[in-house]
């Protein structure tokens, strides 16, 4: 119904703004209904302005800025209505070091609401995990799970993350 849609829209909008400002350390972001008079059919525009920059099209944002804007919106929907679990496949790939740290901190905060399953090549992200699964392919073409009770170093060698030589 219309009321429900608007209530959800406003919550997501508020959380989107908060998360965006945390990731970018300022700036502003919001969702805009393209047709306020026809809420049940209206489309949604996304407005994102990194701190100190002028507003422009989403397409002009950098790779990292786009990923953080999308992440802010995604996490905003989780805060509006927690979803039991979330799977993220190498979403930290375009992020620089300080944005990766902010991503990890936010992820840790979000675990109060959801379970996260994160595929990554980034060592900092791995260190933030509660549980680690290594996948190897000693037998080409066949994936095998590796027990991760090893010390982090042995384990990284086992999954081929660092060469053991």
């Amino acid at each position: 119904t219309k009321e429900m849609f608007l209530v959800t829209f406003n919550i997501i909008n508020e959380k989107f703004q908060q998360l965006f400002q945390m990731f970018f350390q300022g700036g502003s972001a919001r969702l805009i209904l393209t047709d306020e008079n026809n809420v049940l059919e209206s489309g949604i525009e996304i407005f994102a302005q990194p701190p100190g920059k002028k507003v422009s099209q989403l397409a002009l944002l950098s790779g990292g800025e786009k990923a953080l804007t999308a992440l802010s919106l995604l996490f905003a929907t989780f805060l509006a209505r927690p979803t039991p679990f979330c799977v993220l496949d190498e979403i930290d790939a375009p992020l620089d070091e300080s944005n990766t740290e902010r991503f990890i901190r936010t992820l840790r905060d979000m675990t109060a609401f959801s379970q996260f399953i994160v595929v990554t090549h980034n060592k900092r992200t791995m260190e933030a995990a509660d549980t680690l699964y290594g996948v190897t392919m000693e037998d080409a073409g066949v994936s095998r799970l590796v027990s991760v009770n090893l010390s982090r170093r042995e384990w990284a060698e086992e999954v081929g993350l660092v060469s053991s030589a």
Binding site: M4, F5, V7, T8, F9, I12, L31, S42, G43, I44, E45, I46, L58, K66, A67, T69, A70, L73, L74, T77, R81, T83, P84, F85, C86, V87, L88, D89, E90, I91, T111, Q115, F116, I117, V118, V119, T120, H121, M126, A128, A129, D130, T131, L132, Y133, G134, V135, T136, M137, D139, A140, G141, V142, S143, R144, L145, V146, V159, G160, L161
Partner: protein, 168 residues
């Protein structure tokens, strides 16, 4: 409500039964390029009812069944089971006396496919009902595939409505 474990058998690069159990918090899946990490993500999408072969990176749905390698023959079936636990009345009443639900999807090379809930043959629609009630909202944003984080931004204004509607 939370994810307990996933059992993958005959799906993509998992010709042997493989079980990942999930704890609360953050579970990281790591490993070298091409070892099968995104295939685990595809297995989660698939058991939740994903119908698009493009999202699963294949041409036909049979492409998810292990097609063999140098040391092993191709298999005739793929099967994935997702176990969801800690259920507190968030799902359709028919299942509410269970504390755990198992969702299973099978596909045979013949093209025949099966869906099961707690080992009982069911329809895809039943699985979708459970997921939507549980807030996993099939169309929802609970799974972000590799390289696709920006899809939330680039979709059309109408598509973006689904973000709000799924959550409402």
């Amino acid at each position: 409500m939370r994810l307990r474990k996933i059992e993958i058998f005959g799906f993509k690069t998992f010709p042997e039964k493989t079980i990942l159990t999930f704890q609360p918090g953050i579970t990281c899946i790591v490993g070298p390029n091409g070892c099968g990490k995104s295939n685990v993500v595809d297995a989660i999408l698939w058991v939740m009812g994903e119908q698009s072969t493009k999202t699963l990176r294949g041409e036909r749905m049979e492409d998810v069944i292990f097609f063999g390698c140098e040391t092993r023959k191709t298999l005739g079936m793929a099967e994935v089971t997702l176990t969801i636990g800690d259920i507190k009345g968030e799902i359709p009443s028919r299942y509410s006396e269970y504390s755990e639900i198992e969702i299973t999807r099978r596909l045979f090379r013949s093209g025949e496919s099966e869906y099961l809930i707690n080992k009982v043959p069911s329809r895809l629609k039943d699985i979708k009902d459970i997921l939507i009630d549980a807030g996993i909202g099939f169309k929802g944003h609970s799974v972000i595939e590799q390289g696709r984080i920006e899809k939330i931004l680039t979709s059309t204004p109408e598509d973006r409505r689904a973000i709000i509607e799924d959550t409402a």
